[in-house]
């Protein structure tokens, strides 16, 4: 054995420039399609140039664009939507740590958001006569929320994936129930009942952000405060992502057992991820409470949770750019859906974009579009002759699109019942189209598209608040099936 040392080849040193392979991701396979797409035509050139820009460059560009929003517009509504979007970005950022990095399905996440909001409300409002300075309240609330996240994770750390989801879901429900009924809480029935959370009336008259004798009173001020907090949180998460802890979280996500065998402190990593995510949610809650000046339990229930999940999934769990993009797209679309005129443009734009992406080659696309248009005009002509009541309604949108639609889509005078039937048919038709292949699918697409336009004009447009939530559900289902990595996330390939 004496001479064997010289037989061992020297350990090859890794070239400094080569990026380290990510754990659990086969880079080459995962990027195969991307590489094939790259380099063809102008799109390829642009894409390649964008790939070269370092990630923080994008965040900086986003920060500059976001900071310019109040300069560009003085429209209070737009800035308000911008503020809400920033809040959602913060929420999605925190959830990204728990779900995207550590791979723990936390279904009680909005409870931390609510805890932060209620924490701020209790410490800075006439409710208990406390009017602490914001500089004191925010750190206290953030630390308290982190501790709460830690405590929730503490008993659940041994639970495997699904069980963690259950326990956190019930924690979220517990939070909402307790807060909703918290107007007469006694300590285990021994003391007289105290009004702790205001119950269904919430906590009103919350103080605005104030520090050093000044206070934030304008919407612009809150917008910049939210932006500053978001950028700080983004920077923190970015740095953690690049650190040893960030890599450990991702290895936990890919394979907890293997990570444990590699000597990673799995339990501690889970607790830290939970606490970190909860702290960001708590911080967001303080902003929410301060601007709205009132908090109610209903704001922290399941719909909010699902919306934040939709944002995270749309952008791509585990990707910081995805968080920004997802929150922006989902929140702005949900806002746009409130105004029927705008929503119609978005609806047809979305349909057109889906068709362009999904129907190839372009000859088929042209055939489908022409076919749908022809079907519509034919149906309209037949209906005008045979069923005059079927064409009497008015489209919700005016202008060119509206006058086009008036001669194309059937608009019955009383669309409720027929619209409901058509909605159910539309859902079935869309499901059916996904099972078809080739020319049969293209053929089936024509009446389905027309049906979609009919349902939209006659039913969905009348109920924007329900339509928004239906849309969120659809986003979750479709994305998980078609593109689980989201818009900007990297595809994960299981290596066996």
């Amino acid at each position: 054995m004496a001479g064997s040392g010289s037989d061992i080849p020297p350990v090859p040193t890794r070239p400094e420039q080569a990026p380290a392979p990510r754990i659990g991701v086969d880079e080459w396979v995962a990027t195969h399609e991307a590489r094939r797409d790259l380099g063809r035509g102008l799109v390829g050139v642009v894409r390649r140039e964008l790939e070269r820009v370092p990630r923080p460059g994008f965040y900086l560009a986003f920060a500059v664009a976001a900071a310019l929003l109040p300069v560009v517009t003085s429209n209070g509504y737009v800035i308000r939507v911008g503020f809400d979007t920033l809040l959602y970005m913060l929420l999605a950022l925190g959830l990204n740590i728990v779900v995207g990095y550590a791979g723990l399905l936390d279904l009680g996440y909005v409870a931390f958001y609510g805890f932060g909001a209620y924490g701020y409300a209790m410490l800075a409002s006439p409710k208990f006569g406390l009017h602490w300075s914001t500089l004191a309240v925010v750190p206290v609330v953030v630390v308290a929320t982190a501790i709460l996240g830690f405590l929730v994770a503490l008993p659940s750390r041994r639970l495997l994936g699904d069980y963690l989801a259950i326990v956190t879901l019930f924690f979220g429900q517990l939070f909402v129930t307790v807060v909703q009924n918290g107007q007469a809480m006694s300590f285990l029935g021994f003391t007289r009942p105290y009004d702790v959370t205001g119950g269904p009336n919430g906590i009103p008259d919350i103080d605005p952000f104030n520090a050093f004798g000044g206070r934030i009173s304008s919407l612009d001020g809150y917008y910049y405060a939210a932006l500053a907090i978001f950028l700080a949180a983004l920077a923190a998460v970015y740095l953690v992502d690049q650190s040893r802890t960030g890599r450990a979280w991702k290895s936990l996500r890919e394979d907890a057992l293997a990570a444990e065998l590699m000597g990673m402190p799995v339990n501690r990593l889970k607790l830290v991820a939970f606490a970190f995510g909860a702290a960001i949610a708590g911080l967001t809650g303080t902003l929410f409470a301060a601007l709205n000046t009132a908090v109610f339990a209903a704001d922290f229930d399941v719909p909010t949770l699902i919306i934040v999940y939709a944002m995270l999934i749309l952008g791509g769990a585990g990707s910081l750019g995805g968080v920004i993009l997802g929150a922006l797209i989902v929140n702005v679309s949900l806002e746009v859906l409130r105004t029927p005129g705008h929503a119609t443009w978005v609806f047809y734009g979305l349909l057109a974009a889906t068709l362009v992406v999904k129907v190839r080659p372009w000859r088929w696309l042209a055939a489908v579009v022409v076919g749908t248009a022809g079907l519509g005009f034919a149906a309209h002509a037949v209906a005008a002759a045979a069923w005059p009541r079927g064409v009497h309604g008015e489209p919700a949108v005016g202008g060119v699109l509206g006058s086009g639609l008036r001669h194309w889509v059937l608009l019955p005078t009383d669309p409720r019942t027929i619209g409901n039937v058509a909605f159910v048919c539309l859902v079935l038709a869309v499901l059916w189209v996904t099972t078809l292949r080739g020319w049969a699918q293209k053929l089936a697409l024509v009446p389905t598209l027309y049906l979609a336009a009919f349902v939209w004009e006659n039913r969905l447009i009348d109920e924007p608040s329900v339509t928004r939530l239906i849309l969120v559900g659809v986003i979750l289902i479709v994305l998980m099936n078609a593109r689980p990595q989201g818009l900007v996330g990297s595809a994960r390939v299981e290596i066996v």
Binding site: G161, Y163, V167, P303, Y309, L431, I470, G473, L476
Partner: protein, 311 residues
């Protein structure tokens, strides 16, 4: 001791428990085979309840039924079970099937999306308002006045008896199916080890479809029984009931069918007794707290065996 209160809560708890058990069975069956928490299951129950309501409307509404009550009940049950079953099969086919090999988190999020979609689509189509089966009005209220009296004057109405007996009959049928038929055997094999079952020539896809159909049909029946006793149906009823059934499945040891029944009863009784004896506003909170305690102390449930993770 106040026997009246005790017996009232006991009857309410058993009735609720029967409904929860039926829903919990579907949760448990699906989990046993796919290891998937089907959050949309509660909404299948809601759809079943609405199908029953639709049948009542078709037959002239609660005040002026045009058919015999037993015929009506049979039609309601069959339609609700068929509708529930088909809905379950569609959910499996279009939302979950492609995700079987995906990381565990993907089907869970999809299930949340399906649940959210069904609730809001139901609100769009059926309206957000509460509808009522109004079984008090059927045939001049004769349904509720018949039945029997327990000691200390607690009356058990026929609808409650129908719900509990119907649930028991369905559970016996399910047990027979799972124990004695070929498909039942295939289901047990698949839930034991899906890959090995596929290698033994079991058509796993068919077994999964059958599981979704049966589990969802039971949820549809639960919707009708619930409407019969508690009258009200509304689009968001599935979420709350789904949560309770889910707790029942977990308490009984998820994936374990007798456990689901026991769990349903335990949760039904716990809920009604905490309403009666402790606090009506916090009964939810109490049930959730009990669940979290069970999960943390005995993660495999009361009747479940601890699973050993093999590598």
């Amino acid at each position: 001791m106040n026997w009246n209160l005790f017996l009232t809560e006991l009857v309410a708890g058993v009735t609720h428990g029967a409904v929860y058990s039926l829903i919990a069975l579907g949760y448990s069956m699906v989990y046993g085979i796919l290891k998937l928490l089907n959050f949309a299951h509660g909404d299948v129950y809601m759809v079943g309840a609405f199908v029953g309501f639709g049948i009542i409307t078709v037959f002239g509404g609660a005040e002026a039924l045009s058919v015999n009550v037993w015929v009506l009940l049979l039609v309601m049950l069959v339609c609700a079970m068929l509708a529930g079953g088909l809905l379950g099969v569609m959910i499996e086919r279009f939302a979950y099937r492609r995700l079987r090999a995906a990381p565990r988190i993907a089907p869970l999020i999809t299930a949340l999306g399906v649940s959210f979609f069904l609730e809001n689509a139901a609100q769009l189509v059926l309206g957000a308002q509460y509808q009522s089966y109004n079984s008090y009005g059927w045939k001049g209220g004769s349904l509720w006045t018949s039945g029997f009296n327990l000691p200390s004057g607690v009356h058990v109405g026929l609808p409650q008896i129908i719900a509990v007996v119907g649930a028991i009959v369905l559970m016996i049928l399910l047990t027979w199916f799972v124990r004695r038929t070929r498909t039942g055997k295939a289901m047990r094999a698949t839930s034991f080890d899906r890959e090995a079952a596929a290698m033994m020539g079991i058509d796993v896809d068919r077994v999964i479809v059958a599981t979704f159909f049966i589990g969802s049909a039971l949820a549809g029946a639960a919707g009708v029984f619930n409407g019969l006793v508690y009258q009200q149906v509304w689009p968001y009823m599935g979420f709350q009931a789904g949560l309770y059934a889910f707790i029942a499945a977990v308490v009984g040891g998820i994936g374990n069918l007798p456990g689901a029944v026991v769990g349903g009863l335990v949760i039904g009784l716990a809920q009604s007794f905490s309403i009666g004896y402790i606090s009506s506003t916090f009964s939810d909170a109490i049930v959730f707290a009990v669940l979290i305690a069970v999960m943390v102390l005995r993660p495999s449930g009361l009747l479940g065996r601890a699973a050993v993770q093999k590598v």
